[in-house]
């Protein structure tokens, strides 16, 4: 491996150290009388006119003691949260290819400038349509864009996340079968490599879930599908490619068989990053699909939301979409609530609208050629990294071995675990010391000791080399200095949390500061930590 290119980031990898502020909780820096902001004062004219502001409120409804919120100056509130932001490994700081299945890509700041315009920030959702023609136009235009990308007939952006879009699609499938007079169709078929929400969301809508497992090619066989189809089949919820990056080439046969059995087919395209301009949901015969704007379409992941889920349907299913839809009569845009078959509201108002504006700007900046360049480069990057990763001893890519993958790969460190006793989760914790992180897998771990990597189109060859170099180093260390990994992290914002019972034991867990104080007392943390310190006795500090 001495022929590998040396990354210019090699030194970053070796010497990285995250900010470590040991920042106290706001409650711990609170001082009586301090204030962070003064609200607009009540004018004398109002006070004179009405007297006691709470005069209409029965006295027993009034709070007798003020809420014990922290009292902190603005100086310290800002500093506190700036420090916390520095202790957060946002994608902007790193080549964030480890959060696979999430398509973490570049989030252009120009899109932030656009959505922070008062022309969007200060729009009330119930304003008269004449005053919101601009935002309605963007909602309408972006629907046309997603129609072109997917071949579907209509979209809604109301779901406020990808899973919410899956739930929306499940609701539409349900409404369709009821409307057709076949309410007994209550079974949804999915695959184990499809995101957990493809099982959980239809189950939340009342469906029974049947899960198919892959054969050695990495996807379920047509026979496996046939065996579970029946007059109870309501639909198929499937990703393709799934988390292994392997595309099921028989997907059209799957769709055909489900249709023949009377079911609908729902394509989870939360991550469509390898397929833009290559494959369209409608061309494969799907009845519904969804995109995550915070994955494929470049809107930020926002520390875990708001994202946005865009649900797309065929013409036949369009009447069931949530209300309202956005329509255009040739001169003006308007909201249509008059849709009697609609499943109703799936979220308040029109969803996380700012993300539609961001996604619209992202697509406009790239155009059709650019979107294809996104897909092709994401796939190129992934296969480059795959080649580099497989050169590292102990790393394998189960299923379809020796074959290419689309935009991500689920690797396995099983051999390393067998030989060193360390788990992929241990290596993931140690990765924090190199300014990186990686996702293992959704549960259950079908691929043993998993590590799922998705390099998207945003990263350079040097970034990919650096990532491979990190894995190489982790693997080497696992064999030569396993205690470094066991006791990691060393260079992150905090140290190892050795006692997970604090998160599992109802007597000990503390989901708020007040719960912590009740269960453990103010000084309990110090003593518990000292206890841990004494018992671990591993002080491998830099």
């Amino acid at each position: 491996m001495n022929t590998q290119p040396v990354s210019p980031y090699q030194s970053t990898l070796e010497n990285y150290h995250q900010a470590r502020w040991c920042e106290p909780l706001l409650f711990e820096i609170s001082e009586a009388g301090q204030r962070g902001i003064i609200p607009p004062p009540l004018e004398a004219g109002i006070t004179e006119s009405i007297g006691d502001p709470l005069q209409d409120v029965p006295s027993w409804m009034r709070r007798t003691s003020p809420p014990a919120l922290p009292e902190v100056s603005q100086v310290h509130v800002l500093r506190h949260f700036l420090r916390l932001s520095q202790e957060t490994l946002g994608a902007g700081l790193i080549a964030d290819m480890g959060m696979a299945t999430s398509t973490v890509k570049y989030n252009p700041p120009v899109n932030e400038q656009l959505v922070h315009s008062p022309k969007l920030n200060e729009l009330h959702p119930l304003q008269d349509e004449e005053t919101v023609q601009g935002i309605l136009e963007i909602l309408y235009r972006f629907e046309q864009i997603l129609k072109a990308i997917s071949g579907m007939s209509r979209f809604t952006f109301q779901p406020r996340g990808g899973s919410a879009a899956i739930y929306t699609n499940a609701s539409i499938v349900q409404a369709w079968h009821r409307w057709r007079g076949e309410p007994w169709r209550n079974e949804i078929i999915t695959t184990i490599f499809s995101h957990p929400s493809n099982a959980a969301c239809p189950a939340s809508a009342g469906f029974k879930i049947i899960t198919l497992y892959p054969d050695s090619d990495g996807y379920p066989s047509v026979e496996a599908l046939r065996a579970v189809l029946s007059e109870r089949t309501a639909g198929l919820f499937i990703t393709n490619p799934d988390d292994t990056g392997i595309f099921n080439p028989k997907i059209d046969e799957f769709v055909h068989l489900v249709h023949e059995a009377g079911g609908l087919c729902v394509y989870d395209q939360a991550n469509a990053n390898g397929l833009l301009g290559i494959v369209r949901a409608a061309d494969l015969g799907f009845d519904l699909c969804h995109f995550n704007l915070h994955k494929t379409f470049g809107t930020p992941h926002a520390s875990g939301g708001p994202g946005a889920g865009a649900s797309g349907v065929t013409e036949a299913l369009a009447p069931f979409l949530p209300i309202p839809t956005v329509e255009f009569d040739g001169t003006r845009y308007f909201l249509d609530y008059d849709r009697p078959l609609s499943i109703g509201k799936v979220a308040s108002f029109y969803g996380a609208v700012a993300n539609v504006v961001r996604a619209y700007a992202w697509v406009m900046s790239l155009g059709a050629e650019g979107l294809r360049a996104v897909a092709e480069t994401a796939v190129l990057n992934n296969n480059y990294l795959l080649a580099r990763m497989l050169e590292i001893p102990s790393i394998t890519a189960p299923f379809a071995e020796g074959k290419h993958r689309l935009e991500q790969v689920r690797y396995s460190l099983e051999k390393l675990t067998r030989e060193t006793g360390l788990h992929s989760s241990d290596l993931a914790r140690r990765a924090a010391d190199f300014g990186a992180h990686f996702f293992l897998s959704h549960h259950p771990f079908v691929v043993p000791e998993p590590a799922t990597i998705e390099p998207t189109e945003s990263y350079s060859q040097a970034d990919l080399d650096t990532h491979a170099a990190m894995f190489e180093r982790l693997v080497k260390e696992a064999y030569t200095a396993p205690e470094e990994i066991q006791s990691a992290p060393h260079r992150a914002a905090i140290h190892l949390m050795p006692d997970p019972s604090y998160l599992e034991d109802p007597q000990r867990w503390a989901i708020t500061w007040r719960a912590w104080l009740r269960k453990h007392g103010k000084n309990a943390q110090q003593s518990a930590m000292a206890e841990n310190e004494a018992s671990t006795k591993k002080t491998k500090e830099e």
Partner: protein, 467 residues
């Protein structure tokens, strides 16, 4: 590779440059990217060209294009707006925007509790401060919105009690009711309890009539959709408990600097919106919800969301955080988990944490009083206008109230059109969902409204209704 996009250097796609692409392909022994795509059979491939507008490669061009479209909007900040109904124009402190635009928070996702320590701490502090307002020890990370929080809270109540019916007050947002119905239908039967037309509050007699041994929960909001405080909260909670049901209450956090929280009356699950806490309206994009309960295992184990817990690290003086009881969730159990877990609204939770930290107890008291006072003032001023009747006058109001125009002979739309000509967004018409209220509109005032603006509204209405 498609595209003779020979010379285009895409600023967002470093490896799209032909010479880099070729170097990488060579390194992995592949002639073209097409070789990789061969795993997708030809018959499944899209042969056409996506019919897309653009591209606007230049950032300036892009900006000009999008801004020109957004320019067609007239924002609430350019006029005097009295719109409410679930989304509110409040003052947003600069520090809130500064923090939620930090690229570290904006672009983080679901890193581990080590490298994303700051994100975990901010979300734990969000829950902890909400816990102080609510007098409860367990608070979720933000849900998609308050509708989802209510819908999930009721599903939780169904699972906790093992019962199948829920009684929902009709004095909540009709859209929220629609979401609750959509989300509950396979598992829970919804019975809607009407409100008392005089007080605008949930009709306790109607609730009593619907209550039985199959009732899992009673649900209402306070303040409710009409801005009325539910002064029967004690009674409703007791009724629920006597029937072996839970009481689930939606509450506005901005009231809790001056009002006792629902838990003080025995509410079992409390939920609501946090958009009021330092988050811009964004045409409804700024919504996010919360769910809170007592710290009892039977409640905690029914949450579908992430819950952040505090724990020690091996170094004294360091706070660590992690995720509590993840076995509950669909991430570990797929369809066997509680509902589902997904990307919801964490950035708004961090923003609300900044807001609550800035406000503190004194700020929350002042803003609560300020809104109560302005609401009372606006009600009095408008009540004096000929042709206007304020409904539900016997109830205490926070932020919103219903204005009826029946005596004026004009429709809400006519009135709002005339107000708009004078730079005022009038209240939202209630006709579609509450036809029995006739020509009524929901008006809203917050801490940003001045006495002069409220007076101007009254004077303008006087003028419009006279003509």
């Amino acid at each position: 590779m498609s595209g003779e996009n020979k010379e285009i250097a895409y600023p967002y796609i470093p490896n799209a440059l032909p010479h880099i692409r070729d170097r990488m392909l060579q390194r992995i022994g592949v002639k073209s990217i097409e070789e990789v795509y061969e795993m997708i059979p030809e018959r499944l491939r899209f042969k056409g060209k996506m019919d897309l507008p653009g591209p606007l490669h230049s950032e300036y061009e892009l900006r000009r294009h999008v801004e020109a479209i957004l320019q067609k909007n007239t924002s609430a900040a350019e006029v005097i707006s009295f719109l409410g109904g679930g989304c509110y124009q409040h003052f947003v402190p600069a520090v809130c925007d500064e923090i939620n635009q930090r690229y570290e928070f904006l672009t983080a996702y679901s890193g581990r509790a080590y490298e994303d320590h700051g994100r975990y701490q901010a979300l734990f502090e969000f829950a902890s401060m909400m816990g102080e307002l609510l007098n409860l020890e367990v608070v979720s990370v933000p849900t998609y919105d308050g509708y989802q929080a209510a819908a999930t809270a009721l599903r939780m109540a169904g699972r906790i009690t093992g019962r199948k019916h829920i009684i929902v007050s009709r004095a909540i947002s009709p859209d929220k009711l629609s979401r609750i119905a959509n989300y509950s239908s396979p598992f829970l039967k919804i019975k809607v309890a009407d409100f008392d037309p005089n007080s605008g509050q949930t009709d306790i007699k109607a609730v009593e009539r619907l209550l039985d041994t199959e009732t899992a929960a009673i649900y209402f909001d306070t303040p409710n959709f009409f801005g009325c405080l539910e002064t029967g909260i004690n009674h409703l909670t007791t009724l629920a408990h006597q029937a072996g049901a839970l009481c689930v209450v939606g509450v506005e956090p901005l009231t809790l600097g001056v009002l006792r929280p629902p838990a003080d009356y025995g509410a079992d699950i409390v939920c609501g919106e946090i958009q009021s806490l330092g988050i811009h309206m964004q045409f409804g994009g700024g919504q996010a919800g919360f769910i809170a309960t007592r710290d009892e295992e039977r409640f905690v184990m029914e949450y579908p969301t992430r819950l952040i817990g505090l724990l020690p690290t091996r170094v004294p003086g360091e706070h660590g955080f992690g995720e509590v009881a993840m076995e509950r969730t669909s991430f570990l159990k797929r369809e066997g988990g509680k509902e589902w877990l997904g990307t919801m609204a964490n950035l708004w939770g961090i923003t609300a944490a900044v807001y609550l930290a800035l406000m503190g107890p004194q700020g929350m008291k002042e803003i609560g009083e300020g809104i109560f006072a302005r609401t009372s003032y606006a009600i009095r001023k408008l009540a004096q206008v000929k042709g206007i009747r304020i409904l539900h006058l016997s109830s205490p109001h926070f932020r919103e109230f219903v204005v009826n125009f029946d005596e004026s002979g004009k429709t809400v739309e006519e009135i709002n059109a005339l107000l708009a000509q004078r730079g005022i967004f009038g209240g939202h018409s209630l006709r579609r969902h509450f036809p029995e209220m006739g020509e009524s509109a929901l008006y809203c005032v917050t801490e940003i409204h001045t006495q002069a603006q409220i007076d101007l509204l009254a004077d303008t209405l006087k003028e419009i209704l006279r003509s």
